[in-house]
Symmetry: none
Subunit: 305 residues, 5 copies
């Protein structure tokens, strides 16, 4: 049965039908963090996004689609997210064993445009036939192709919600309008999170922001209003505020492999700032499985305490 | 994770997509019998089928749609099955807490034809928006309206399977072509179970058969081939055989209130005969909740041993 | 703003989208009973159902479609319900002035079958283009055409709910399976109300029941369980119980012209029994307007106290 | 590659697209009779049509859907035909191993009308998703429901042909308009075969006719024109003539268990009369598998010589 | 019947329906390599892609669409792949004689953009009416039009899979983002193969990679992780790894006419590296038929040993 915290979270989604709430509950009630309102999700779209060798050569079992289902299950993650092929290749074998998020658009780096625009690679009907709890969709606010992406999200999202699925949006600022530093700037990250929420996302994934402020008009306000952004926990708290004052689930991505302790500190900061969890791909599957399980176990225990 | 038994059961449904397998797994992995391959389901369509007072006056909390969700959850049933209104009235409150089966056709007794034909009362789109794991559909083999019912089931079933839902068929022989005794005759019950399986049902619900043989042509075969039908366990075993030699889930209904010990003996016989479980409505919700919980607890413990 | 009572009522409709809740709120928040959770609705489909002269000759202004909009507005009713033509003929003139319920099926008495089956006379798209808050639909439980009606309601209802409309069901037992007395029998009336609720109606309209019990199987239960049905208030209370223990709006129709005091007593009984209001057609528009306003004013004041 | 005989047969279907020809070729090029233009097909719809015990009790492995795939494959049949459930239950296990014919309508004998009308139990979309080469459809010429059946066949057939499937029609005269003897009368059988051909069937299945003549108007012509119908070979030859003078594939059913030698003689007569083969259900699966393989082997060898 | 190897291969496609498995089995079970799990496919789209004279002048019988069907059949290839016109022109003549792959998009060089984008030239409905086992689709990863192509593939693929067809993807890196050498670079080729697999392809066709590494970020990983790519067999093995660790069928194209022995060595390397076969167009049909048959015979014998 749903914990009070899960019931509270579900109560924020009053315009969604019980089907979508049921799928949100499936995500919130699976794995070691079941019922806590916190989530750790394993995403494996790096094969598509960065290329297979860059993703899996360091830990070759990751070339096998079954590996990631098993990793997500054994680690006690809330869900596993991947593009069509990786899901199709093992969904029958693990039917009902871990909630799935079908990543329905993807981007590769063989043609890495300054203003990226992902391709639609699967859809809501695929998510239904494969038993997924949610679709996942990436937008690149700041890309000149932004409006087309938002429009595609709108269409997929409408259909997903009618059919009782949840919608997870990866909101990654990127494009010729932003400096490299700006992609993780506090103002930009908060803005990107808010856009995803306004587009109707149920779960929002953003990168952890720095204390850089990219846009001049924003910087003035942050300074005038003395918005606290000096610590990572402050910045997480502000992102949470930007996503409907905490009434949308917002989770944070881990980025490339890192010093483990640094990751644990980030997770602690996310927790302190009121973030809902992490989505950790490369840092998980780019190490031996036993190490990955220890690593994810530690992160989960930070959230679970 | 799926137990070996659940994996074995899912392996029988090779023509279904992973979405449908996921929903079958949701049914098999919920409640106190999770993972055993056995199911106890709470159905509450008697308000529609027999009228509200005949259904709920004896235990008035049952007039409230929330009561049955709670009963199914507290008893540890695998699922709760009901018509549209009862599901709609509480699906948001209990989203994700118990697998739901939307009964999409129903029959009332205000116009009780000799050859009954239920009305379509909801559909696959409702099941998706309400977060149900399956649709439920009643057929009355033996009714002169049989072909229309089978045709409606076919259409709903095709759509359910495309969208990753499971299909539960109530196969209740009834109609002017059958004697009253014939409705639960061994040959008729086995035939009804087989028809449901041939129509593509994933889960089949029939009444417990007696040792009566209704059809002359069938009687000759049962006698010549010495099909064992003398004990209830024998008869359950034969029904299981009739549903693809055990490769479809077949469960048994309880009928009207009864001596409890008689019910426990029936359940023991279902278990011995290789049946997959029970669907118990009136016997559950037509007594005080604490008694119902004890009663269902006992049944579940018989299956679970 | 919604009163606590309106908020409570809306909370019962958790599977409906905010669009449908908004239209329910429009009905609950209009007229003199706004915010009380009680409704008095003016329906004028008698022209179609009984013929124009039988309906309007006694008060000829009623031939004019604008008359009924004005009557509903001046009396302070919550809504006005009528078939397509009557709505179309004045909807522009009174746009936004009174919530409308488009009666999308109708039956005439030029061919008055023993087992009546209404015709579909308009639809959800009409309701949307005409600015209606709800569709209205009549079912005749007990007619041999019952299953066809329920199936048509199902389809209209699915579409109405998707588009944010409310669904009002007139549930009038009638047909060769019932005696004349049975049409308003306690058991039959409660059953008919329950069926409408199970079919997903938001608002249910039934006739006031007598203490007659029509069906033998039901009678036994009423007597054994000592269901209180001796006073009209008792019987209203039981109908309310039959519609999800009070968690659906159920209102009562007035029937043919009557002694006014008798009507007021009926209304008092509805109020005492926990009914949500009245739908009063012939008794309103078959008298001069000033008398009608006095009459409706009295009824509304009984509910409003 | 296609033999000259297969090429000749395909040349008769000039209005069908290459997809349908490809599926006809799949049927003609599989099993021990591959390339001969002759077919022996295993049909197993008796579970649905007569009941499971009457069908399988004599040889219980037949309760298992996998058994019939294996029997058809091991015997070297051209194809296996069955209703939805039996196909779904094993299609993945034997994908590509034997051409399948999905029987999309079926009739049971729990309500055995004088004028039978089968139910639609699956459809063209099912046939495509299950990898079938053809749909199978039963018509009962002589039943008062004949026009509805022909109309349903027309719709399914149109869709099947658009999608490159073949259409196999079981044409079984039956109904209140015919005497029992008339069901297999020479004139009736030839007429039924012709009707199926006119309805666009690619493969037609009829019962072996007797020399009885049922219809007076027909009898006069048979006698006046001295149509040869005295031997079984004559009668087969006449059926072949009735199906477009041999330019449609017509095969014959075996009926209930029989003296084996009688069956072999029938098959010899079919061969002599220019029939294209046999469809043999009960006689195959209602004996032990080794006996069934010997029996089918003998039949196939008669056709193959 | 399917060999154990074919059964193993089919087991990787657990999210596909039995229809798609049946068509995969048709490809795997045809020609001289039937049952080995290896494939040699004849593709003839060069007339469209490069122009007819460039394609067929060297061996003029190749202008005739029937020639290629005959070549594929006589050589014992598993399948023949071509655009709409070439298939339409001979599909009736050779119905059922060789599995067909309908190439549903094509690119010509009359307008040869730096960033190529093929045109949709036929579709799934064509594939069904023509009796094809699969659709074929070319993507050009690295072209600035990549996202549009992937999106078109997604739509065609969804429809193909629903209808039981297989999906073959030609994944040819090309476009302004890549150097000429980069088109066949190891990292790029592995990436392109992985993308096709993630897009849901059942069979993936790529060019044989060189040991060049095109992308700096990839090069670092290949060197750090010491991915073996020095021999052609190593590189094939790595491509196989990049396509779900060997759980997708990946075949290799031959490119322009070459020294025959060099081709045999390439084929030997594909076999050693665990590749599933070759798709050989120009090298086959751009020589006299007897030479082509010898050439293909030799290649097939290398795979078949």
């Amino acid at each position: 049965m749903n914990t009070p915290r899960v019931k509270e979270i579900l109560s924020w989604y009053g315009s969604d039908n019980p089907g979508t709430l049921t799928n949100l509950a499936r995500l919130l009630n699976h794995g070691k963090l079941a019922g806590t309102g916190r989530l750790v999700i394993l995403p494996v779209d790096q094969g598509f996004e960065h290329g297979p060798a860059r993703s899996f050569a360091v830990n070759p079992p990751g070339y096998d689609p079954r590996y990631h289902f098993e990793l997500a299950m054994e680690a006690g993650c809330n869900a596993y997210a991947a593009p069509l092929g990786f899901i199709e290749a093992a969904a029958r074998d693990f039917a009902g064993e871990v909630p799935l998020i079908l990543k329905i658009n993807n981007h590769d780096v063989l043609c890495d445009e300054k203003d990226p625009m992902p391709a639609l690679t699967s859809g809501v009907r695929d998510a239904l036939r494969l038993g997924c709890a949610a679709i996942g969709f990436t937008i690149y606010p700041g890309s000149s192709a932004w409006a087309k992406m938002y429009g595609q999200l709108r269409e997929a999202s409408e259909m997903a919600k009618q059919n009782g699925l949840a919608v997870v949006v990866w909101s990654y600022p990127r494009g010729s309008a932003l400096s490299k530093q700006g992609e993780t700037a506090m103002d930009v990250c908060g803005y990107a999170a808010h856009i995803a929420a306004e587009l109707g996302a149920h779960i929002i994934k953003v990168k952890l922001p720095t204390d850089h402020l990219e846009q001049e008009a924003a910087r003035k306000v942050y300074e005038k209003e003395k918005v606290a952004i000096s610590t990572l926990a402050d910045r997480v708290k502000h992102v949470v505020q930007c996503t409907f004052n905490g009434r949308r689930i917002v989770i944070f991505s881990g980025g490339p492999t890192n010093n483990d302790d640094a990751v644990y500190q980030e997770v602690t900061a996310i927790r302190q700032g009121g973030g809902f969890g992490s989505i950790i791909g490369r840092n998980s599957f780019q190490r031996k499985k036993d190490q990955a399980l220890r690593f994810l176990g530690k992160i989960i225990s930070i959230y679970g305490n």
